[in-house]
């Protein structure tokens, strides 16, 4: 049975350079839904991305900076991007050649659409 988030994750997955998309519970670090390439271990990515997002959110709270809208971890050969709302985080794993501006816009749009 298709989840209500498949369309959202599917549209993100179609962006150039995106290799995985996940919807994650920020508190538990558990996958709610995902679209992964064959052989990818989503559970670990979900846990780590959720943890990073949680740390960013709590540090922003401590500094009085308000809600975290978008987060990006940049590495030599790729990125992990995330946008959160209501304890849910939409995560995209991309290559370094991805159009990060477009990924950011689509992730923010997806996060706004979360219930």
């Amino acid at each position: 049975m298709s989840s209500p988030f498949q369309a959202m994750l599917g549209s993100l997955m179609r962006l150039r350079g995106v290799s995985a998309t996940l919807l994650v519970d920020e508190h538990e670090g558990m996958i709610i839904d995902s679209m992964l390439q064959f052989g990818q271990d989503g559970a670990r990515v979900a846990a780590l991305a959720a943890s990073l997002h949680r740390k960013a959110r709590k540090s922003a709270e401590a500094a009085g900076l308000g809600e975290v809208a978008f987060m990006e971890l940049e590495a030599a050969d790729g990125r992990i991007c995330a946008a959160g709302r209501h304890d849910l985080v939409v995560v995209a794993v991309t290559s370094s050649s991805a159009n990060i501006g477009l990924v950011r816009v689509e992730l923010l749009k997806a996060a706004r659409g979360l219930a």
Partner: protein, 276 residues
Amino acid sequence: MADDISRWSDELARDPSSQVFLPLGEALRRQGQVDAARRVALGGLERHPHHADAHDLLARICVDAGELERAFDEWDMALRIAPDHTGALKGMAYVCFQQQRFDEAEDYLRRAAARGDTPDAGVAAALDTVHRSSVSRAAVDLEAETTTADPRLLFTRVLETDDRTALLLDASGLVLAGAYLTPEGVDVASEVGAQLSGVTDEAVRATQHLDIGAWRSITFETEAAVVAMAPAAGDGLLVLAASKATPLGLVRRLLDRCVERAHTWLARTGGAGGGA
């Protein structure tokens, strides 16, 4: 020399308006008779107030007397009268050099070098000396700043404006240097550091798991600011916050500069000055 002085003195006595006061004053100065040289120079200036060389002579006498400010003023006057007066430019460079105003000294020397039809070896050597002194002084300034200043102010010069703030955390999330100021000016560095403890470890694990190479930065956008983080020496973390109006490209450049500064500071102090 004594004969010359005697001859020029006689000539000046016969004709007080003679310009022989110039070689006479210089000769007396070279003999160390500073007071006598000054009287001659001042006498000449009374009759020739717009003679650039007369002001140049008095300036050199003032230098011998240790009166650098007065010397600078006299050379400045000479330069107003004769804008191409190389001696005045060299003299002003000398005063600036003595006062450790190296940039100005270099500027005067370059102007002096540009005046001559042929290269002036003395000016070139002076330029070299000024340049080396300037570099040496800059290194001393940097060392003093990075070793003795309040660690909380480590990034102040790099950040340039008040709406940016940065801090350096150790692997445990403890603050080593810098500050994390709220818009109200409250330093919440310790609170932010505690919340970010472990970020480096998780970033490393995530990038290793995905096999996407070493992590370079984490950036997150909030309602009020952009926060960027980068790995620092010794599993540390550099955290930079800037107003949301700051372009992301600039945020990254500032982050790189802060990392470099932290690296220099850690190398010099071993982080011993931290723990704010």
